[in-house]
Amino acid sequence: VTAVLASGRLARRRRARQRILTEASSVMLSVVLLIWSLTPVYNMLLVALDPEEGEIEFAGNLWTPEPSLEGFRAAVMQDARYLEDFWYQYGNSLYIGLATTLLTMLVGSMASFALGRMHLAKASLLTNAAVLTYAIPAPFLIVPLYRIMHGYGLLDNLWAVIVAQVTVTIPFAILILRQYARLIPLDLDDAARLDGASVVQLYLRIYLPLTAPALAVIAGYSLLLSWNDYIYQFVLLSSQRNMTVSVMQAALFVDADARWNAMMAAAMIYAALPIIILYALGRYIATALARGCT
């Protein structure tokens, strides 16, 4: 009996030790992940808070000796080279982002509504076309797009960027919605039809409200893609007034004499918006992705 008891105690102790080990290793992993995720962001902050105007020497300090908000002031007041039109360019980025998002939601949901719920023949053909669009790398499209936009007279026009981005985001919208809309029973449509609902009413009253979580994910995705984009904006826009923040910020890469602290401060201001949106929509995104993945 004592032997059995002793072995039981031993096993319990072993289990407790194992639990402590798991906890300790997950804490360690968390620390590593924190450092990994935050170092580049921290670096941005370090540069943005540096009081010096010109070059920044990292002297081995973990923190700037005299943190200063001068960089942020210069960015907000548009008081530095490259930043003269910062808020105007921010407006351009926002305009492109919002237009891309709205168009993606509208055109994508219309197309997937017709493809998924109108019993169209050859519907899968168009869905495959959407997948194929995924497979075209942007740098491959950009040269012909430049020529084509020139032909359409859309060069240096914000709408050139918007339609280029929409071409990339709509396939994502169609794929997500196709998946998500399977959860809505088709009987619902039939019942509404019996009650005399028109096609447009089906779309507005049933399809759109019931796919709202998926639409939120699509909105987040489109806005992030547009906010992240550089290549389309760089190639298709040229004048100072039509430039976006992404393009303007690239100057920091080529020009070592740019005011680093102000540019990094502007970068952080620019980067804040999608982070806010992502955290606001996070719950929707998680649930919709969870449904979409099964």
């Binding site: 995720s37 017709a114 075209i136 790398p137 012909p144 997500i176 550089y230 998680a286 979409g292």
Partner: protein, 339 residues
């Protein structure tokens, strides 16, 4: 666990060949005799709702005004698709149809290293990223409040605008003025390397920055995939004695394998066209030795004013791209896995 192995093999083969598409794994095993715990739970699951199975083949096609409406709803996308996807692609193929362009490419000393870099960047970047994301998604499934908070911080790189994030990476690694080398000398007294003076260090920096930026996105996808696995299956697996690594190998991974494959294929496609990482982290330097096809093509087209050569450089990636696309479309059609 010989039993479980065979069960999952059956599950998967059934799942691949099932005639009506099903979303669940439940009804595969209904009515088995001599079941293990896992099987019992599986068979106790709710009967699968057969979506659309009541619909007769050829069940009413739209006609009259409905048909017109259906067309009207599809037309905007079709128009965008033809004007901004089909037309440019056709144009690109026409631009790059000159065979002499490819002879020129091969003769260019910058081209072969760019090809090698692309293979390394995509091959290492995508696979390391996906594998780590899969493992980390398991870690983030732990139900602790601080792990949830950590997840919120962990996904920040994904939300951060890429130009800004990659520029930050670049300045972090710029040499002794950069944060990384500064920390190395302050903490360990090591003189860090000048990262972008060496092809392999530069390429490595690009890959690390790429993984940093995109791993969170795929981790979230895998977390969603894991959440979709009914808890019963894990509980049952535990009853059968599968824990830890065994559970991962025999239960979780087989259920996620399809999702993992589709995501890897998709990510490979996207990464082949990734331009911003290399352009902003290493800038292609030193002397163009870390360029990938995307940045080299861009360089030809816009810096050297040779648009056709730039398109040809991208087209030379097609032999890599086409099999992946075919595989992906096949996978998306036969399975329910979706992004």
């Amino acid at each position: 666990m010989p039993r479980m192995g065979s069960v999952w093999r059956r599950l998967r083969t059934q799942n691949d060949t099932q005639v009506p598409k099903q979303r669940g794994y439940y009804n595969v095993l209904i009515g088995e005799a001599g079941m293990s715990g896992t099987q019992q739970v599986l068979s106790a699951g709710p009967p699968v709702l057969e979506k659309r199975s009541w619909r007769q083949p050829g069940h009413r096609r739209p006609h009259g005004s409905d048909f017109i409406w259906a067309i009207a709803f599809v037309v905007p996308y079709v128009a965008v698709f033809f004007a901004f996807a089909v037309y440019p692609v056709g144009f690109a193929l026409w631009m790059a149809s000159e065979p002499s362009l490819y002879a020129e490419l091969i003769a260019d000393p910058f081209y072969p290293p760019a090809m090698v870099n692309t293979l390394l960047f995509v091959g290492l970047g995508v696979n390391v990223k996906m594998f780590l994301a899969l493992l980390l998604s398991g870690f983030f499934m732990r139900r602790r409040r601080w792990i949830k908070a950590l997840l919120a911080i962990y996904i920040m790189p994904w939300a951060l605008a890429s130009v800004q994030a990659f520029i930050s990476f670049h300045w972090m690694l710029i040499g002794e003025q950069g944060l990384v080398d500064g920390l190395l000398s302050a903490l360990f007294g090591i003189e860090g390397p000048i990262w972008f003076n060496d092809r392999w260090l530069g390429l490595g920096s690009n890959i690390v920055a790429y993984i940093w930026k995109w791993m969170p996105f795929w981790t979230v996808i895998f977390i969603a995939g894991r959440m979709a696995i009914p808890r019963d299956i894990h509980d049952a697996a535990e009853v059968d004695g599968a824990t830890g690594a065994r559970r991962f190998v025999h239960v979780t991974f087989p259920l996620l394998a399809n999702l993992y494959l589709v995501c890897t294929l998709l990510s490979t496609i996207w990464t082949l066209g990734d331009f911003a990482t290399v352009y902003f982290v290493s800038g292609g330097g030193p002397t163009g030795s870390t360029n990938v096809l995307a940045t080299l093509g861009f360089h030809y087209a816009f810096d050297a004013s040779r648009p056709a050569l730039g398109v040809a450089a991208m087209i030379s990636a097609l032999p890599l791209l086409i099999p992946i696309v075919i595989l992906l479309i096949g996978k998306l059609q036969t399975s329910e896995v979706q992004l």
